[in-house]
Symmetry: C2
Subunit: 364 residues, 2 copies
Amino acid sequence: MSWESKVKKTIPYTAGEQPKDRNIIKLNTNECPYPPAPGVLDAIDALKSRASDLRLYPDMNATALVDALAAFYQIDSSKIFVGVGSDDVLALCFLTFFGSGDPILFPEITYSFYPVWADLYKIPYKQIPLTPEMTIDPFEYAPGLTHVKNGGIIFPNPNAPTGVEEPLSKIERILRANPDSVVIVDEAYIDFGGTSALPLIDRYDNLLVVQTFSKSRSLAGMRIGFAMGNEKLIGYLKDVKFSFNSYTMNLPSIMIGKAAVEDRSYFEETTGKIVKTRERFKEALKELGFVFPDSKANFVFAAHPDFSGDYLFTELRKRNIVVRHWNSPAIREYLRITIGTDEQMDAVIKALAEITATAQNTNQ
Amino acid sequence: MSWESKVKKTIPYTAGEQPKDRNIIKLNTNECPYPPAPGVLDAIDALKSRASDLRLYPDMNATALVDALAAFYQIDSSKIFVGVGSDDVLALCFLTFFGSGDPILFPEITYSFYPVWADLYKIPYKQIPLTPEMTIDPFEYAPGLTHVKNGGIIFPNPNAPTGVEEPLSKIERILRANPDSVVIVDEAYIDFGGTSALPLIDRYDNLLVVQTFSKSRSLAGMRIGFAMGNEKLIGYLKDVKFSFNSYTMNLPSIMIGKAAVEDRSYFEETTGKIVKTRERFKEALKELGFVFPDSKANFVFAAHPDFSGDYLFTELRKRNIVVRHWNSPAIREYLRITIGTDEQMDAVIKALAEITATAQNTNQ
């Protein structure tokens, strides 16, 4: 025996490629192609003039950032919790709300970290298959039907990596069927034309809506995520968080995050541009024979009936275009392609046209 | 039943006071009285010119920061792990190394988050009393004597909140007696004249040394901590970390942290000043009749035989001086006073002289 026998063993994570070559078109991690709001530059100036304050612990409540979010969403600050990216917020939610011992429920095809966090906190879980149309069936999330009870429910809306958005009516059906469980709607991709469940938090005290600054606010590099829900839910999150790590949001996050939230028109302009580009891209994909569920996210999850996902991924990579591809059986024919600028998506379409044409010639 | 029955219940944390009034002398959270290294200003300029990169996920390995630490400590980068403050790093260490099911050991009077993290991850623990001189007795950490086996060992050196430093010979005795456990030396306060256990990591593959940027590097506002140990230990930490939250260090942390580490002479100058001020302060405290274990940290843990800790704390607070005081029985007569500038400590001494003189007159 040695100390190694006591170590927690995990399967090391294989990261998505982060190419440094600026000539590469990087469409594999759903980042925003546009820079953050111009106010971020002023915030960095302000940070410089306050550099001596970096010697002090930051405001553990991140009040300035929380208040800016409260003003943006027109809700009370007591209904908002911020963390180091939505991964940090979501993991804390698992710890805080999902520890009853009953299995939690989430879709079979969904964000890959859900089963990881469940395992981390020893939370049993049940993965619910999507319908053939890649949608969520609320019937499957109703206690007493497919299962006796659950310890909580979580799903992204729009779902990842499918991009499929569920209507609020469906989310309400799940909420109404589960008053005894916390239901978390992970809205990482809601700002690209989707309808947020946020207005429902006042009607359902068991609803938590989680969002991020990494996609629609062009701040993946800052690691800022947040949860919105009634005061009681947020209070429980804070209690758990402050009980074991008081200071997590650093001063730059508070200042830069605040500046990004305060510029509503820039936010609407950039997300609007991405939506427009996405719709153009979908049309072009369709013309090339690709199939894909209708995406409301800043990516499209597409497959081609005549070419394997692996082949398309490799051919794009040869042309300096990096998209996301998984080898798991259920989704291995699909590529998840982030929506970049119009120019970038034109290049993707051009490459895909070439790849599908060439290969067809070769195969014939 | 409702969803609330499923929530993890914790005792809400009562934060140390964070006064906003700039006239207050704030000596309650062991922050550095000096601003961060001047190079931090250049790093903030560089951040501004790279602001558009904030749209991208940061380097998940924080390579620039890790390499700067490797150069500073003259060790290989593969022996370093960075996280969002040493609280983040230490909590991850508990999760990674202490889950064998056997009780971990740490001192009875020590950093208050150790039992919290143990409870969080359902790790049993045993708190070992300090000697009457507030030192650690290595005999008590030897398996087969006071207990059959342990699941790991952690202690701060210098200890908090006592400030007492243990010699490396004692740490080696603990390491030699526990080859089958990971031993973590939490060196948050090592840079104020203490001797780091870092040179021992090549001889003991079960030793992990954890440090922070919050005290000696004047960057509490940035939340940066790090662990140093052999590649295998660091590899396990990375595996667990990347398995559930890949991106935690934001771009400003990487850039500003790097700038702070690169200025060795500023680091030596500021820590040197604090050591000098501390020694002067100790002399003055002694003259006022205070008793305290000899501190090697950036604070002094002091009591007065004639006055209660509560009384001294309250009287200092009235004079706009904030220090740390706990109500737990074992240490309630003590104040933990952070070492500030010479001017600040002169003001503390003046106030304590006044308080002890006045009260003596009143009591007589």
